[in-house]
C-alpha cells in the first residue's frame, strides 16, 4: 500500500514483449519496463520467444520495482495477461505471476490482453467511452463498450492488419513495420489493390497476395509499400467510420502496435472531421504491449472482486475481448 492507494504489478507476455508495469489505484503509472524478443530472421517463434522472456524476466522485474521506488512487499495485487496470445509466452508470464502471488500472499488477477490495451489507452488519453480500433500484429477489431462488456462491431475475417504489413515488409526485403510505412513515404505511384470490406469486417489476405505480386512484377518497393499501406489503412478507416455512424460515439481511439502509424492517425483525423467526434491520442509507450496496461486493468478488475484462484489461472490463448463482462466501465453507451 502507498498511502490509501493500492499498488498492482502487471505482467505482460502474450507475444514478443515481456513487460512489467507498476500502477497505483489512483491511476499513477510508477514504472513500465519491457524487453522485446527480436527474431534473427523471419517471424516470431513461440518457444524461442518464451525462452527469451524467461531469461530476461528477472532483470525487467527488478528494473520495474527499482524505477517505481517501492519494495516488492508494497505490491497489493499481481495481475497477468491470460490471453489471447501465444501459449508458451503466456505460460511464462503466468508462471511468474503465480509464483509472486503465492510468495507475497497477494490476490491474483487474470487480465484480458485486448481489454488492457483499451483501458490503458483511456487512462493516459483521458477518454471515457471511445469507439476503439485495436490493430496489431495479431489482432484487428473494432469494439466499444455496450451493455456491460466490450462488444465487437467488426473484425478481420482472416489475418490481422499488422500481420499483413509485417509479412509484406519481410517479403519485400525491408523488414516488418514500420519499414513499409517509411518506404511508402518515398512512393509516388499508387497501384490499386483489392480493398475487401464486408459490413464492418475486413479481410487482408487477398491484399497481401496482390501486394506481393506487385513486388514480383517489378514495381518499386516504395510504390508497392505506398499501395499496400494506403489500401490497408483505407479499409480500417472505412469500417471505423461505419461503426462510428452506428454507435454515435464521440471519441475514437486506436490502440495496438499498428496504432503507432502516423499515416493511419492522420487518416482518422480526416475522417472524424466528417462526424461529431474526436480522436484520442495515446502515447506510443502505451500503444504496444506493455506491463502497465495489465497492472491498470488488474486494478479495475480487483475493485470489482474479479480475482482468480491459482488453480483456475490457466492461460487462454484464444480468449476474445467480448467473452468477459467489463463492469468497471461506468458509463453505458447506446
Amino acid at each position: 500500500m502507498l498511502g490509501n492507494s493500492r499498488v498492482c504489478l502487471g505482467i505482460e507476455s502474450t507475444a514478443h514483449t515481456i513487460g512489467f508495469g507498476i500502477v497505483t489505484s489512483d491511476g499513477e503509472i510508477l514504472s513500465n519496463e519491457l524487453e522485446t524478443y527480436r527474431p534473427t530472421s523471419g517471424g516470431i517463434h513461440p518457444r524461442e520467444a518464451a525462452q527469451h522472456h524467461a531469461q530476461v524476466a528477472h532483470e525487467v522485474l527488478r528494473r520495474a520495482i527499482q524505477k517505481a521506488g517501492i519494495s516488492i512487499d508494497e505490491i497489493d495485487i499481481v495481475a497477468f495477461s491470460v490471453g489471447p496470445g501465444l501459449g508458451p509466452c503466456l505460460r511464462t508470464g503466468a508462471t511468474i505471476a503465480r509464483a509472486l502471488a503465492l510468495r507475497l500472499g497477494k490476490p491474483l488477477v487474470a487480465v484480458n490482453h485486448g481489454i488492457a490495451h483499451i483501458e490503458i489507452g483511456k487512462l493516459v488519453s483521458g477518454g471515457t467511452d471511445p469507439l476503439v480500433l485495436y490493430v496489431a500484429g495479431g489482432n484487428t477489431l473494432i469494439t466499444a463498450h455496450h451493455e456491460g462488456r466490450y462488444r465487437i462491431f467488426g473484425e478481420t475475417l482472416d489475418i490481422a492488419a499488422g500481420n499483413c504489413l509485417d509479412a509484406f515488409g519481410i517479403y519485400a526485403g525491408i523488414g516488418p513495420m514500420p519499414a513499409p510505412e517509411l518506404e511508402a513515404r518515398k512512393g509516388t505511384t499508387l497501384h490499386p489493390l483489392p480493398v475487401r470490406v464486408k459490413g464492418m469486417d475486413v479481410s487482408f489476405s487477398g491484399l497481401l497476395t496482390a501486394a506481393k505480386k506487385l513486388v514480383d512484377s517489378g514495381v518499386s518497393i516504395p510504390d508497392a509499400s505506398l499501395s499496400i499501406t494506403e489500401a490497408a489503412y483505407s479499409m480500417l478507416v472505412e469500417v471505423l467510420e461505419r461503426a462510428l455512424a452506428l454507435t454515435m460515439k464521440k471519441e475514437i481511439m486506436t490502440v495496438g502496435g499498428l496504432a503507432r502509424s502516423r499515416r493511419l492517425r492522420e487518416m482518422i483525423d480526416e475522417m472524424v472531421k466528417l462526424h461529431d467526434a474526436r480522436q484520442l491520442y495515446v502515447r506510443d509507450e502505451f500503444l504496444g504491449d506493455n506491463g502497465a496496461m495489465i497492472a491498470w486493468t488488474g486494478l479495475l478488475m480487483h475493485m470489482h472482486g474479479l480475482t482468480i484462484d491459482i488453480s483456475q489461472s490457466k492461460v487462454r490463448p484464444r480468449l476474445r475481448i467480448d467473452e468477459e463482462e467489463a463492469p468497471w466501465v461506468g458509463r453505458k453507451s447506446s
Partner: protein, 223 residues
C-alpha cells in the same frame, strides 16, 4: 444516355456512411440517385478506384437480380465519373411501418420476402443487408432496395448471413412476431430453393448465431 445536366436534382433523401441519396427528375420520370461520395481520408487514386468498382458491382448485381425476377429498383443509368447510380423510384411503404402497425399484413408479406430472397440466392446473389429498412412494399409485394453490400456467391455462408441478419434485426425490433415471421419467411424461401437446401441454410444460421462476432450486427437497424 446524356450527361449529368439532364438529371434535375430535387431533394436530398439521406446521407449514409458511404453514399448520398437524392430524388431526381429525368425526362419527366422521378428517379433515385445514389452517389458514392469521395472520402477525404483516402488517397485520391484509391478513392476513385474504390467508388468506381463498388458502383459497377452494385449496378451489376441489381441488373442480374432483375433478370432473375427479384423485385428491386430498375437501373436507369450509371455515371462512373461521379460514381452515381440512377434507379427507379419505388412508390411504396416502409416495411418497418407495416411490422409496427399491421402484424397480420407483415406476416402475409413474410412469405413473399422468403420467395424473393430464395430467388436471389438460387441465382447466386447475396444481398448482404436484408433488414426491414431495406424492404419496401409496393402493391402488397416486397421490393428489395440498397444492394450496397451485395455480391455474387453460391456459398451457403453468404446466404445464411442474409437470413441471419433479417432474423437478428426482427428480434431486436419486433420480438413478438419474429418467430411467426421467420416461419413464414422460411416457407416462402423453401418453396423456391427446395426443402433440403433451405434446411442447410438454416442450419448455418444457427451456427452463425453461436459465433460472437455477429452478436452486435443487427444493432444498426434498431430505432
Amino acid at each position: 444516355m446524356g450527361g449529368q445536366e439532364e438529371f434535375l436534382s430535387l431533394e436530398l433523401v439521406k446521407i449514409g456512411a458511404e453514399a448520398v441519396i437524392y430524388k431526381v427528375i429525368w425526362r419527366g420520370l422521378l428517379l433515385i440517385a445514389k452517389r458514392r461520395v469521395p472520402k477525404p481520408y483516402r488517397h485520391p487514386d484509391l478513392d476513385i478506384e474504390i467508388r468506381r468498382k463498388r458502383t459497377i458491382n452494385e449496378a451489376r448485381v441489381m441488373h442480374r437480380s432483375k433478370m432473375l425476377g427479384v423485385s428491386c429498383p430498375a437501373i436507369i443509368h450509371v455515371e462512373l465519373s461521379t460514381s452515381t447510380i440512377y434507379m427507379q423510384y419505388i412508390e411504396g411503404r416502409d416495411m418497418r411501418e407495416i411490422l409496427a402497425c399491421e402484424p397480420e399484413e407483415a406476416l402475409r408479406i413474410a412469405t413473399k420476402i422468403g420467395e424473393l430472397v430464395g430467388k436471389m440466392h438460387r441465382g447466386g446473389i447475396y444481398h448482404g443487408d436484408v433488414v426491414p429498412s431495406n424492404i419496401m412494399v409496393a402493391n402488397g409485394l416486397p421490393v428489395l432496395i440498397d444492394f450496397g453490400l451485395s455480391g455474387f456467391s453460391l456459398e451457403i455462408e453468404e446466404q445464411a448471413i442474409d437470413v441471419h441478419l433479417l432474423e437478428r434485426s426482427l428480434k431486436a425490433n419486433y420480438p413478438a412476431i419474429t418467430d411467426s415471421f421467420m416461419q413464414r419467411f422460411m416457407k416462402g424461401y423453401e418453396s423456391i430453393v427446395g426443402i433440403e437446401y433451405a434446411r442447410q441454410v438454416y442450419q448455418r444460421v444457427l451456427e452463425i448465431r453461436k459465433r460472437a462476432r455477429y452478436v452486435t450486427r443487427g444493432l444498426r437497424h434498431e430505432g
